[in-house]
Amino acid sequence: VIALAAILAVTGATVGLGLYGVRLARTTSDLFVASRAVTPWWNAAAISGEYLSAASFLGIAGLQMKIGSAALWLPLGFTAGYLALLLFVAAPLRRFGAYTISDFAEARLGSPRLRVLAAMIVLAIAGFYLVPQLKGAGLTLTEVTGAPYWVGVVAVGAIVAINVASGGMRGITYVQAFQYWTKTFAIALPACLLLIHLGGLPERAALFGAELPQAPDGGLTVTLDAPQAVTFPEAAAYTVDGVAARAQAGEERVLPAGELALPADTVVPVAEGIDAQRGEDWARPVAAGGDASPVFVYSLLLATFLGTMGLPHILVRFYTNPDGPAARRTTVRVLGLLALFYAFPLVYGALGRVLVPQLYITGDTDSVVLALPEAAWPGLGGELLGALVAAGAFAAFMSTASGLLVSVAGTVSFDLRRRRGAPARRRHFRTAALGGVVLPVALALVARELDISVLVGWAFALAASTFCPLLLLGIWWKGLTTRGAACGLVAGTAVATAAIFTGLAVAGGHPTVDALLTQPAVISVPIAFAVMVLVSLHDRAGLRAADAELLAMHAPEGLGLGEA
């Protein structure tokens, strides 16, 4: 009940602040001009607020609990993405004055058709990224109130769509900055208090030693809502609804729905799709094979490093910076703020392995952040902390989903159907916001088994294989042609999505192949770059003088050069 109240408070504050902010912004002539009085610190908090999604808040700890310390590369890559943005994109793109990637594609290469192609890719990336936010919302409501999974998915989808359609959250820097601090506080405080309360990390043998996760001293009871396929890593005796049974080591079974009870010190069975790992394997950030294979780690780092710049809801935030140097200063501050946030999720992943091993049985490791406080600290303290993380999680879904939906609606109404007068476009923006959420909601309802981090990983892989080469070559190489860009975008999309869907269809093959199929960036990014460069080099006819555009991107402000 406390948790539900906290969630409602955060949702109410977000919607309320958004609506209030819009009224405030409407009194000034221009939303973006108004935002330019914003200092780099506020801007950086806003960018971080929009960026820290369900994948950061729930997904990192969930994946860490599931596959082990290889998940620690995720926060590293998520942060490093802003370094790439800083080094190659932030200042030139801010100076160029294109608001979205589709704008950039058209303005740099002068092709309206390229804009349409870019817009379609924006929709695909935003869709991949929206689904995990909605999944997180469903999980959180289930964990907190026991409501069915679809309630949270549909509710958050509806709230976000109405909020965006009514104009809330559009470019409102202060709301997003508020969200950043909400999330950081909500993840940091419980992590610190739990570590103090428990006196450090408990049960090190299961974390770093030779043991598998076990039922705690008092035994473990789990309510299974549906039959659950599991593997028993070691022989175990258990009861379901009081009926005793035994399983051999390595045996696969389908546990019937009901109340499963494991006596103390029994090694917990693991749900289908999870490998039971001993502490020493779980603790390895890289290993020769399995989920922590170097191919997986490098591909993940590459996707996140290069993919961040191509996320549709990120770039638009940079236009609240007054000029190029301010865009750089803001990005450096984003690095600091993200580093602060990412110091905490791993605490939950580690404690969760020891304190809520029942999540291995149900497979819902993504809810470890939510389940941990009450499991570790029975009583009012745990309940309050649980309410805090639930509220923080909702702040994460709301802010990221809103940002994504704004870019979806903007893309549909401005890029795909253009120039029909301002009132018509506004109406169209609203319809697009309401319509754009339907498909992600439907996908989230069927995609419950997929990890949040895996889903987000696809969005990054797709962004890294399409918009990253477009931005880097467009900003730094005047030889890029429209045909080269178009072919590269198509090639990157094709390779990345083909790999992802093949991976879904034929999971469980050779580990290296599996890693490449779930994290295809290490192949698809070089292909996209190569296609863009080679086609451009052979497209002499398409070569156009781009000096004016490059001057606008690279010349410092105040010289009267290249500025519109």
Binding site: L86, E280, Y298, T331, A555, G560
Partner: protein, 104 residues
């Protein structure tokens, strides 16, 4: 009338193109140097941890060293590279500014 670099740039002459290319190249090489510094360290990290499995048995604060190495030191490194890069990029822009608008 003597033509200044500003005129060359504004009129997009061959000279102006040269100035522009020099600016872009200097900025790009700065970014690439920063990228190599970052990539060299972070890129080598997974490989180093893979090739030195013995690190797993060294405990610092009760946690195996590789976990600590991945979880903490890269972040200050990112910030340091970011700050240094920002300063240098700013300095390059100042010198371009001096070229276009020579100080009196």
């Amino acid at each position: 009338v003597r033509r200044t670099p500003r005129d060359e740039l504004a009129d997009a002459t061959a000279h102006g193109g040269l100035y522009l290319r020099r600016l872009i190249r200097s900025q790009l090489s700065l970014s690439v140097v920063a990228l190599v510094a970052f990539g060299g360290i972070v890129g080598a990290l997974p490989l180093a941890l893979l090739l030195l499995p013995g690190l797993q048995d060294i405990y610092v604060l009760g946690v195996p060293l590789p976990i600590l190495i991945v979880a903490w030191p890269p972040f200050p490194l990112f910030i340091a590279i970011g700050v240094l890069y920002e300063r240098r990029a700013q300095a390059l822009e100042e010198s371009f500014r001096d070229l276009v608008e020579p100080p009196p």
